[in-house]
């Protein structure tokens, strides 16, 4: 069994128990042990990077220190947390002067960033530690060719120079993992384009227009659902459809489902264990199709 320090972040535990439940159940079933550490904080995502990049790097590094002290690599569910932490980890490993600068700050909290651990997104863990074949062997309920519009979110892929997750223009990992469940990962227009989520709260009209594009493009490609990895993309597209209905007078009923939920369902986890009532856009259509 491979063990990881679970970095849960803020949005998932506060808003999306369906994500946390499905991720914990699926990963555990596949032989990954998730260890909850004390004293973690926010990962210091873009809103905090916007306030002060130096502070954000220090906060991200502080959290990595906790995994270093526990002698564990770190696993993230949220794509935003993955970006903040993996970016800081790479930058500090590659730039000794930056590491020194951040360690001076961390000394105030009694920490030192050493740079001897990895930050991984759970898709990397599925791909590399579990493996596609092992996932396929564990599928109890294949997803019946469900047409899935994969939407990884920006921060799984970019900036690729630091994250090194997949080809930023032609990624395959997420699609491969969707197809391993017996679903079809379909093409749709502007698949890799942003959901606009980070503009919520500052320019809601612009954010909603960008989110609407994503929904319309998946709808026009006859997707049964959009599958997400990032809780912020989820919120933007799921709650977003309620706002699209009031603002644009349009109704798409496009289910937004985290990949971890699809994975759990195909591994045979009972739907009633997954807090599926936390979806604003009901996912009954999808449940019927996968039977």
């Amino acid at each position: 069994m491979t063990s990881y320090a679970l970095f849960l972040g803020c949005t998932i535990p506060a808003r999306q128990p369906q994500y946390e439940l499905s991720a914990r159940k699926a990963l555990t079933k596949l032989g990954i042990e998730l260890i909850d550490l004390e004293n973690m904080t926010c990962c210091a995502p873009p809103p905090l990077q916007s306030i002060d990049l130096e502070t954000s790097l220090a906060v991200a590094a502080y959290n990595i220190c906790l995994a270093e002290e526990a002698d564990l690599n770190m696993i993230t569910l949220c794509t935003g947390c993955f970006e903040s932490l993996a970016m800081a980890n790479r930058l500090l490993k590659e730039k000794p002067e930056l590491k020194e600068r951040v360690n001076k700050i961390l000394a105030n909290a009694g920490k030192e960033f050493k740079g001897n651990k990895e930050v991984r997104h759970y898709l990397q863990v599925l791909m590399n530690d579990v493996g596609i074949n092992s996932i396929k062997q564990n599928i109890i309920k294949p997803l019946n060719n469900l047409k899935v519009a994969a939407f990884s979110g920006c921060h799984l892929l970019r900036p690729s120079a630091l994250l090194r997750f997949d080809d930023p223009e032609r990624p395959r990992i997420f699609d491969t993992l969707i197809e391993a469940l017996g679903a079809k990962s379909i093409w749709y227009k502007n698949k890799l384009r942003c959901c606009g989520g980070l503009l919520r709260g500052y320019a809601d009209d612009v954010a909603l227009a960008i989110a609407r594009d994503k929904i319309v493009n998946a709808h026009n490609a006859s997707a049964d659902c959009i599958s997400t990895l990032c809780p912020f993309c989820f919120l933007t597209l799921d709650l977003g459809q309620v706002l699209i209905k009031t603002t644009y007078k349009e109704e798409y009923n496009m289910p937004i489902i985290h990949y971890a939920e699809l994975l759990s369902l195909s591994l045979g986890v009972e739907p009633k264990e997954l807090a599926l009532d936390f979806h604003k856009v009901k996912i009954d259509k999808v449940m019927e199709k996968i039977g």
């Binding site: 905090l48 990077q49 306030i51 502070t55 921060h155 320019a203 612009v206 954010a207």
Partner: protein, 172 residues
């Protein structure tokens, strides 16, 4: 008799200021090809934002315009521009550097104060409600471990983050 002219700030001063900031180092490589603007989901949606224009204005030394107008806050941090820039300008990071300067001068959009307040009081930018705590327990999720708020406060005070955000003695 000639009146002394007020010294005109040099166009390079602002560029130097930006390149000395974390994230801003690469701005001067820009040759204005516009790949950023044509890769930008926000620029496709609204004419309030154009990354090529922000870089041009900044390199022309239009400090006031860049830092006080709304454009720099409209970057969605999707990094598409940065990925495609043929000059390897780290555009999304340059925008962070510009936001960092604007915020250090007190130009802080309300939403950022909200995030910072959450971080400084609970160590999380999204607080956890009693409702969710109960739901978590009902579904058998483990109770959340305490955050490292004390260590975090020390870090925020070492970088001056707490002072940047709450300058005028507003206690948090």
């Amino acid at each position: 008799m000639a009146e002394e002219k007020p010294e005109k700030p040099s166009t390079v001063d602002f560029a130097r200021e930006i390149t000395s900031k974390l994230g801003g180092e690469t701005i001067t490589y820009c040759y204005q090809c516009g790949t950023c603007a044509s890769s930008c989901p926000v620029a496709k949606t609204t004419d309030r934002y154009n990354p090529r224009q922000i870089l041009r204005l900044a390199l022309l030394g239009q400090r006031g315009e860049v830092l006080t107008e709304d454009a720099i806050w409209l970057c969605a941090s999707c990094y598409n521009c940065q990925e495609r820039c043929p000059q390897k300008v780290e555009i999304a990071d340059v925008i962070y550097a510009l936001r960092n300067i604007a915020i250090s001068e007190g130009n802080i959009p309300a939403i950022y104060t909200e995030f910072a307040t959450g971080l400084m009081s609970e160590g999380r930018i999204v607080p956890i409600s009693k409702f969710l705590e109960k739901k978590r327990a009902d579904y058998g999720l483990p109770p959340l471990k305490p955050t490292g708020i004390e260590a975090l406060k020390k870090i925020l005070s070492a970088t001056g983050f707490d002072k940047i955000m709450f300058k005028k003695g507003e206690s948090q």
